[in-house]
């Protein structure tokens, strides 16, 4: 299961590095894998997906087809599902917004570096453009696997964007070797969803049922916390509430002080909070919640002087987060 409570130090540095890279406008790393031989029949992409889904730092997702426009809301949901975030309570999942930038806080703070999108030609040029931009901002390397020869405009677009192109058989061999050489992915929910052995909704029901049971003992309490965090979605009230709890843990308890806290007061990696008496350090294991809220502010386009604890960029109201 994906642990959202104890971030590795490398995740924070990844976010900082990604922000720096984006500022320096480094070219995105995009690989394209050519479609498999149609004469060998269906299933070859599934074999590649199985290998890729077991690799520790890789997120894998199948794009869904729609002729008139890309299904970006489904792509957002599928990426969150495959990262083990199966909750649909609020925000992006509930309203099905076709906005890939909403994924940024999670891509930046989750322990993945590589995104594989299968049947990428389904995303059309506009969707691919967004996807490449998001991957670049999040510091991910992106692999676009084609399931069929793309349309002329997509072909032309990819030629201008990709840093590498590989035949399918070579890529399949590469991922098969990676599966043996690289550490296995420990996110059981995400792996099961990615390999179609379960669905996100089944996992959601399972997690919700687990939360209903009384937590007795440390292990059960930890399990319940992790289940709750898996159900937590991007940009929800719980999201801001988690940041508020961290601030309270580091000693900022005064509601007025919390309300007055600005975006610029919190370090981008969540490592410290600026106050009147200097910087308050935040322990490593609590930084992720702050970092997400900080990145969320960037996604919403908030200015440095805007309120930090907010769900949608508006001024924070205590009732909204209680």
């Amino acid at each position: 299961m994906n642990c959202t409570t104890a971030p590795a130090a490398s995740d924070c540095s990844k976010a900082t590095a990604a922000a720096t890279a984006a500022q320096a406008q480094m070219p995105p790393i995009v690989h394209v894998i050519d479609p498999p031989d149609p004469h060998l029949g269906p299933g070859q992409l599934g074999d590649l997906a199985l290998d890729a889904a077991h690799t520790a730092d890789t997120l894998i997702v199948f794009a869904r087809w729609r002729r008139r426009s890309p299904r970006l809301a489904d792509l957002v949901s599928d990426i969150l599902d495959n990262a083990g975030r199966v909750g649909v309570q609020n925000g992006v999942r509930r309203y099905e917004r076709e906005d890939l930038t909403l994924l940024l806080p999670y891509l930046l703070t989750d322990p993945y570096n590589h995104l594989v999108v299968i049947a990428a030609e389904c995303l059309h040029v506009s969707g691919l453009d967004d996807l490449i931009a998001i991957s670049s901002l999040a510091g991910y390397s992106l692999t676009l696997v084609l399931s069929d020869q793309p349309a002329a405009d997509i072909h032309e677009y990819l030629n201008t964007q990709v840093t590498g192109r590989q035949p399918f058989t070579e890529a399949a061999r590469h991922w098969h070797q990676q599966r043996r050489l690289r550490p296995a992915r420990d996110n059981r929910i995400g792996r099961a969803v990615a390999t179609t052995t379960t669905t996100a909704s089944a996992q959601r029901r399972d997690l919700a049922a687990r939360l209903q049971q009384p937590a007795v003992g440390n292990d059960a309490a930890t399990s319940a916390t992790i289940a709750a965090l898996c159900l937590e979605d991007a940009h929800t009230r719980t999201h801001a509430r988690a940041a508020k709890h961290v601030l309270q843990r580091v000693g900022i308890r005064d509601p007025e002080r919390l309300a007055a806290l600005n975006v610029a007061d919190v370090a981008e990696d969540g490592s410290s909070v600026r106050g009147t008496s200097g910087h308050t350090p935040v322990p490593t294991h609590l930084r992720r919640a702050l970092q997400r809220q900080r990145l969320h502010a960037l996604v919403l386009g908030q200015a440095a002087g805007d309120a930090f604890l907010t769900v949608d960029g508006s001024r924070w109201r205590p009732n909204g987060l209680s």
Binding site: G46, A49, A53, R64, T196
Partner: protein, 289 residues
């Protein structure tokens, strides 16, 4: 070059008589009428297993009433693995949602409610659980997006299903898109029954193709023993003026014919055939025979 089969399809159960099919699949046949194994059906049963093992697409285009749905029922009865028949609904809007709701409902055997994404995800899970043949009827009502997503679904890990599409004009739909075209491995075209006269007057190349297609007289003889005893000239004339080579029309006419003298074993007379046509159309047919 062919890859190793990805779906284990055991040998088919032999089907020769209407009793070999489940009751719901033969409910349209009048009492005493039998299932006719036409050349198309025979070809389908001979070739389907290999195609299904490779999870390739079987397409069955043809005019309405030529026996496509019956062929699907025969295939479902012959298949030893689980089969699900889904009739694509005719809707103007939200065709994707309508299709996946119908497919999800067919898979679970009860009406399913939800969004298209929820239906899609549920269908993904069910199709990964055990080997299954999806028989999709009236596929001309499904739009391209749906068929493409079904094709892409086969590429997901742990998928154990194969698809049989039937519908009027689906060949044009498939041939428009390379992704669907390369998926297809077997096409059985269900045509109207061919009369002996049409065979005799056909040109060289056409005659060979027509001879392979199903024949009017043998099919009608197989359909009911009283039709087998009827004068062939009368049958050909009835087909010319009313049935136009459609099995469905013959079955409807047969129901009327059998109601005239249910206990008789004789062939049908000219008067009976004309009366039966009048019952259906309310017009006297220009019968020449």
């Amino acid at each position: 070059m062919n890859a190793a089969p990805r779906l284990n399809v055991p040998p088919f159960t032999p089907i020769a008589h209407r009793d070999d099919l489940p009751a719901h699949a033969t409910a349209f046949l009048p009492a005493g009428a039998n299932l006719v194994i036409t050349p198309e059906l025979e070809r389908l049963l001979n070739a389907a297993r290999t195609v299904m093992s490779n999870r390739r697409l079987i397409s069955m285009p043809g005019a309405p009433g030529c026996g496509k749905s019956t062929a699907q029922a025969v295939l479902a009865a012959a298949c030893s693995i689980k089969t699900t028949t889904c009739v694509v609904p005719t809707v103007k809007h939200n065709r994707g949602l309508a299709f996946y709701a119908a497919l999800h409902s067919a898979l679970i055997g009860t009406e399913a409610l939800g969004t298209q994404r929820e239906h899609e995800n549920a269908v993904h899970r069910i199709l990964s659980e055990e080997p299954r043949v999806l028989l999709i009827d009236e596929a001309q009502n499904a739009d391209f997006d749906v068929l493409c997503n079904l094709r892409l679904l086969l590429e997901r890990p742990n998928m154990h299903f194969t698809v049989v599409l039937s519908g009027t004009g689906i060949t044009e739909l498939l041939e428009k898109y390379p992704m669907l075209l390369t998926w297809r491995q077997l096409t059985i075209d269900f045509q109207r029954l061919v009369t002996p006269m049409r065979l005799r007057t056909a040109r060289g190349g056409q005659a060979h193709d027509l001879a392979r297609a199903s024949q009017l007289i043998p099919t009608l003889h197989g359909l009911h023993h009283r039709l087998a005893r009827t004068d062939e000239t009368l049958l050909v004339e009835t087909d010319r003026v009313h049935c136009h080579g459609l099995i469905r029309s013959w079955i409807a006419l047969l129901e009327n014919l059998l109601s005239f003298s249910p206990d008789s074993d004789e062939g049908f007379s000219r008067t009976e055939l004309i009366d039966a046509i009048v019952m259906v159309t309310n017009r006297t047919p220009p019968f020449r025979a």
